[in-house]
């Protein structure tokens, strides 16, 4: 389907076009939200908020060819706003130790329900260990496939910094995976590390 025409119809208020756009992009938005907040329920709520924000600002997307970049920039801003509010919000109450243990044994984590592949789970766990900027570079470049120039614009950093950080971020992620004890040959399902560098 022609993305330019689809976007124009959405801007004109065509509900069917908007539904197609939501179905087309919901996986991406959920992946971005999950990458930033690391919790399935929170990411789903946040992803809905992102779509509402997106809908209100559809008319500000001038270049339909760059729709995905524009979408990612809106999603990223919403995620950062959410994290900022979450950081500023004081904890409601302390959870007693006995409740903590019952929470811990309460079955599979949300992450396990959403992310099916064991390797993807591992990568998400390792992403939590990275510094903020390296995590964003992995999310935007390696996962979402944004060009380096656009990442530099989004993060407001020089292109050279992004280039040099990009390789280091991947190495840091690989190290975090190895440190989690799940590197090659260490996978809990016995599948990790079966491949070698080609």
């Amino acid at each position: 389907m022609d993305q330019v025409e689809l976007l124009k119809r959405c801007q004109d208020g065509d509900e069917l076009a908007w539904e197609v756009l939501v179905r087309q992009q919901q996986g991406r938005i959920c992946s971005i939200a999950y990458g930033y907040v690391g919790d399935q329920d929170e990411a789903q709520d946040l992803a809905q908020d992102i779509f509402v924000r997106l809908y209100k600002r559809l008319d500000t997307c001038r270049d339909a060819e760059k729709f995905v970049s524009w979408l990612i920039s809106i999603a990223r801003n919403a995620c950062l706003d959410h994290l900022r509010r979450r950081k500023a919000r004081p904890p409601r109450r302390d959870i007693p130790a006995e409740e903590m243990s019952s929470l811990k044994d309460a079955g599979p984590t949300p992450e396990e329900n959403w992310v099916r592949s064991s390797r993807q789970k591992l990568v998400h766990r390792a992403l939590r260990q990275l510094s903020e900027i390296n995590r964003e570079i992995i999310l935007l470049k390696d996962i979402q496939g944004l060009p380096l120039e656009e990442i530099a614009g989004l993060l407001e950093l020089p292109l050279g910094t992004i280039k040099s950080r990009s390789s280091r971020a991947r190495v840091e992620l690989a190290r975090a995976i190895v440190d989690l004890g799940e590197g090659p040959g260490g996978g809990s399902d016995g599948t990790l590390g079966a491949e070698a560098v080609s």
């Binding site: 959405c10 801007q11 004109d12 208020g13 509900e15 908007w18 539904e19 939501v22 179905r23 919901q26 996986g27 991406r28 959920c30 992946s31 999950y34 789903q44 992803a47 809905q48 509402v52 809908y55 600002r57 559809l58 008319d59 500000t60 760059k66 524009w70 920039s73 809106i74 706003d81 900022r84 950081k87 500023a88 959403w114 390797r119 993807q120 990568v123 510094s131 903020e132 900027i133 390696d142 996962i143 979402q144 656009e150 614009g153 989004l154 407001e156 950093l157 910094t161 390789s167 991947r170 190495v171 992620l173 690989a174 190290r175 995976i177 190895v178 590197g183 491949e195 070698a196 560098v197």
Partner: protein
């Protein structure tokens, strides 16, 4: 006996290999230092097949003898094709409906159930169609911009067209503003009447004005106080972030981690800029300003 020799040779060979390895490590530690960092820096290019031939052979030679870097290389090998596959997560079938119920014409109350075409004829049918058309128009995202554009055109036509009865309106308005409110006939007559009033009436007016000034001053003071409190509250989060990033910056500077320190400095400045914007504008204005800045920077 020969079997005994064989069983002794293997451990000796292993010992020799370990000895050689230890020797090499000792030499490297006393000369260039460990090459692992350099190898790790080149590993992404190796997995991308973007290394020059010589570099590739050097890294591969290092990998043969360094299990740590080999583990890292294998991890990068399966990581690279996996990451792009993580760009989409399936949120389940209900997600789309939740989003649609919060946006567009599918929102409950706006169009519950399937859309039915108006069946009435005559004026009722026309009004029905007109109502539906208007509802669709005002719910379009682009509608506010179109209204603003149309309003601008109407105002320009009204005040700039030679035959328009409102052509002199801006000039008159400007004159009135410059001359003060007493230039208006009704206000002028009221002001004149005060000069002919009795002394009691004048005294009453003076008291009234003094009381009004006192009330206004108190009100203004309270307003300023609450405004200051509101500004402090809405910048609280950003000032907190700025302080936190500043702490990270100092820590990274002390630890000599200049790369992360540079990023922390960037975050400090960013939080500061946002706090400044929030201080002078309401949150929504500040947010839209920042986002428009970001969108401008996106090519």
């Amino acid at each position: 006996m020969s079997g005994g020799r064989k069983s002794n040779r293997a451990p000796n060979g292993e010992n020799n290999r370990r000895h050689d390895e230890k020797f090499i490590q000792d030499v490297l530690s006393r000369t260039s230092g460990s090459p692992c960092e350099r190898a790790a820096g080149l590993l992404p290019a190796l997995t991308d097949d973007a290394l020059e031939d010589m570099d590739r052979r050097l890294v591969q030679a290092h990998l043969e003898h360094c299990p740590g870097c080999r583990t890292l290389a294998v991890t990068l090998g399966w990581l690279d094709p996996l990451l792009p596959k993580m760009a989409f997560l399936d949120p389940g079938p209900e997600f789309t409906q939740k989003v649609l119920s919060r946006t567009s014409l599918a929102a409950p109350g706006l169009s519950a159930g399937p859309v039915t075409e108006p069946t009435a004829f005559g004026p009722a049918g026309v009004m029905d169609r007109l109502g539906r058309w208007w509802q669709r128009q005002i719910l379009r995202p682009v509608f506010p911009m179109q209204v603003a554009y149309a309003a601008t055109v109407v105002i320009v036509l009204l005040v700039a067209t030679p035959v328009s009865p409102f052509r002199q309106a801006p000039g008159r308005l400007l004159q009135t503003v410059q001359a003060g409110p007493e230039s208006l006939p009704i206000v002028g007559s009221l002001l004149d009447s005060t000069t002919h009033g009795t002394s009691i009436w004048v005294q009453g007016q003076v008291d009234y004005v003094s009381q009004t000034i006192r009330d206004e001053t108190t009100g203004a003071w309270r307003g300023a106080e609450s405004d200051l409190t509101a500004r402090m509250e809405r910048t609280n989060s950003e000032r907190g972030s700025m302080k936190s990033h500043l702490g990270d910056l100092v820590r990274n500077l002390k630890g000599g981690n200049l790369g992360d320190a540079g990023y922390d400095l960037h975050r400090v400045l960013k939080s500061g800029r946002r706090a400044w914007a929030l201080w002078w504008n309401s949150e929504s204005i500040a947010e839209s300003n920042l986002e428009s800045t970001i969108e401008r920077r996106t090519p």
